[in-house]
Amino acid sequence: MTWTEFGIVVLRVVLTFGLLMVLTIVNVWMERKLLADMQSRIGPNRAGPFGILQTVADGLKLFFKESITPRKVELAMYVLAPFLAVIPAFLIFMMVPWGAPFTIGGHEVVLQGADLNIGLLFILAMSSMAVYAVVLAGWSSGSKYPLIGGVRATAQAISYEAALGLSMVAVVMFTATQGEGGTLSLAEIVNRQAGTWGDVIPALEPILQFVPRWNIFPQIVAFVIFFVAIVAETNRAPFDLVEAEQEIVGGFHTEYSGMRFAMFFLAEYVNIFSMSAIGATLFLGGWNGPVFEGAVPGFVSAILPTVYFLLKTYAIVFLFFWIRATLPRLRYDQLMTLGWKRLIPGALGWLVLSTVVIAYRQFGPPWS
């Protein structure tokens, strides 16, 4: 590996990290602003134009606040938990390709933290890791409400991780039919969603040639299950039983303050964005979209894929906020019912159905 290649790797990791940090600041502001609009309020409007610097101000405030350590905590775990929350959150986004690869001076730059060939598995592993942070934070706080929050997080994560994984499996299986062999690499999954559905059903080509080749169209049920599961994974309303301010104060982060609390907060918003980005990558074609090469200046063509990626991601992020403003929190048994009796059987059924369809299309009817 030459120094140039090493530099490019560092550059793209730093770029991805920076993008995520900046967008997280924007996301927190955007959520507060949108929620305010949905509730006929104004929302943050003091710091900077339209209050956009509010998150920065809050972050700075938390940074300078004392991180109180209550007497009853298990110190090692208590200190470790915020890091366990932040690190997987960032690592998840490192897997997501957020722009088209381009070439500078003969070196190809991939706009992605790292292109693992087991990207999806890595994502699932990391999103499971994030649960440890919540559970350890709840347990090590030595206080009853965090403990309840932590226990809830365990059950919730296990229930919805299964549905999340199954909905992803359906996509992976479908992707395998779209090119040479199966893949778990997100970059490859994005590549296979380029183009349109024009050639699938010849009779409908005039219409289908305008429909982008996104996985959401054949895999709509998987998308719905995936979305519900990521809302539950990130502990967002209406699945925020882990935090549940009205019942268990703040759940797992009740005893945290200062920068340690800020890290949990950061992890939550990074998780929302990363999970939405994964949704956009798996189902909405990632950075694919018309770049009008030749018709517009070169740098516009280079930047458009990133714009498409952000638009698609923010569409899902907006769904998060919209749902939060609309739905009340589920009761614990309703959460479990939805997870185990609806989503998992639904995901399994959909998996079987798409398996049958894919097999039929590949091998014909079994009696032939």
Partner: protein, 220 residues
Amino acid sequence: MGIVNELWKGLKVTGGTMLRTMFGGSELVTTQFPKETRQKPQRFHGRHVLNRYPDGMEKCIGCELCAGACPADCIHVRGADNNPESPTSPGERYGYIYEINMLRCIFCGLCVEACPTEAITMTHLFEMSTTNREDAIYTRKELLMDPSGNVPHMFPDETIGDLSELESADGWMRATAPSGVAAYEGVKMWRDTAGERTWDPEPTQEDADRVSEYGEEGDG
């Protein structure tokens, strides 16, 4: 698909409100306080003021009934004999020391009810935040209006409130003084105060269109 319908119904409400708020069609519930203020109720209990008669005499006679009535024990009054040559108040005595600790005050208005001479009344001003405890103790200097009827303020330059609210009296005074008899409703029954006042009587019950609710006779 009942659940999807229900979900969609809810999403329509929040989404619709969002669009209306964004494009100015919906009324905001937020009042941007220092910039815009809300209409206060007529009987709003704001900070106190010590009144004078139109001839400039103080109404307070230093009887300490307000201090006795105060449930929060926040009023401190000491009377002193009037100088017969140049009396401060029409009575024998006047309020020589008059202090209200605004940090303790619960703005119940019992002092106003207790006052036999309508000396202490409440205004509509509530912006009284201070940066130190001593500033929250209002003395004669801050409470007493000057002979032309202007009410002083602890921080005349820094206030974010509307100082003209100091000129408007709490409606309780206007509604029930002096005896609370319903027959006097709509009739001005309190003594004049220094300065240009527009302390009209509160609307009568007929005006407020609440006659039928309480019957013709009232409770008087």
